[in-house]
């Protein structure tokens, strides 16, 4: 079965420290991976997707098919990065758009 695992429920770092939010997936076929973010009192929004290979707000994520991982990284965390982060996988088929989410990781950046 398709599954997305985010092993850390909470990640707490100090401002300026590097951040890595882990995401592993089990999936057959050609997955499309996403990171969504939910800031306090705001709606869930797309942070980045693996096919665009861009850096958003200093965050990057590389799809590692060998390790079936899509970890989210930022070299220097900022207090405004504090939020809930969800990793998600799309079936990749054009027919359904079914997103499977991980359990989410709360990132807390302390001053």
């Amino acid at each position: 079965a398709q599954r997305v695992t985010q092993p850390e429920k909470l990640l707490s770092v100090f401002k300026g420290a590097p951040v890595e939010l882990k995401c592993n997936y089990s999936y057959s076929g050609s997955p499309e991976l996403f990171w969504y973010v939910q800031y306090s009192r705001q709606r869930l929004q797309l942070l980045l997707r693996h096919i665009s290979r861009e850096s958003i707000k200093g965050f990057t994520a590389d799809l590692n098919k060998g390790e079936t991982s899509f970890h989210l990284k930022k070299p220097f965390a900022q207090e405004e990065d504090s939020a809930m982060y969800y990793c998600a996988v799309n079936h990749g088929s054009s027919n359904t758009g079914k997103l499977i989410f991980g359990q989410g990781t709360t990132l807390q950046v302390k001053p």
Partner: protein, 112 residues
């Protein structure tokens, strides 16, 4: 203008009641979704409609019935509410089924 809007934002009701949550998107998207976020913040898809046709129907009790009067609206009707239905329900839309999904602000349902 809010792209994906849900009403109501909060809904408190008694067990056994029937309630509806409405969702509207003004993005011109073809595809809409309903997700449930439980108390542990786990987010799971329930339904998806593309051009008013049901394309995803996860294992959801048949007390939950989505209705899409047009492609800009996807409402969720819940019959005979149970305590376990308490959750935050999110609506989302995308240009097409494999497009980026845009989420509403959520509806917090509390069943007493």
């Amino acid at each position: 203008d809010t792209a994906v809007s849900q009403t109501p934002k909060y809904l408190v009701t008694q067990m056994g009641n029937d309630k509806s949550i409405k969702c509207e998107q003004n993005l011109g998207h073809d595809t809409m979704y309903w997700y449930k976020q439980d108390s542990k913040k786990f987010l799971k898809i329930m339904f998806s409609y593309n051009n008013k046709e049901l394309i995803i129907n996860e294992t959801v009790p048949n007390r939950f019935s989505p209705k899409s009067p047009d492609k800009a609206h996807l409402n969720l009707h819940i019959n005979s509410l149970e305590l376990g239905d308490s959750a935050v329900y999110f609506c989302a839309s995308s240009e097409h089924p494999s497009g980026i999904q845009y989420f509403g602000a959520g509806t917090r349902l509390s069943v007493l």
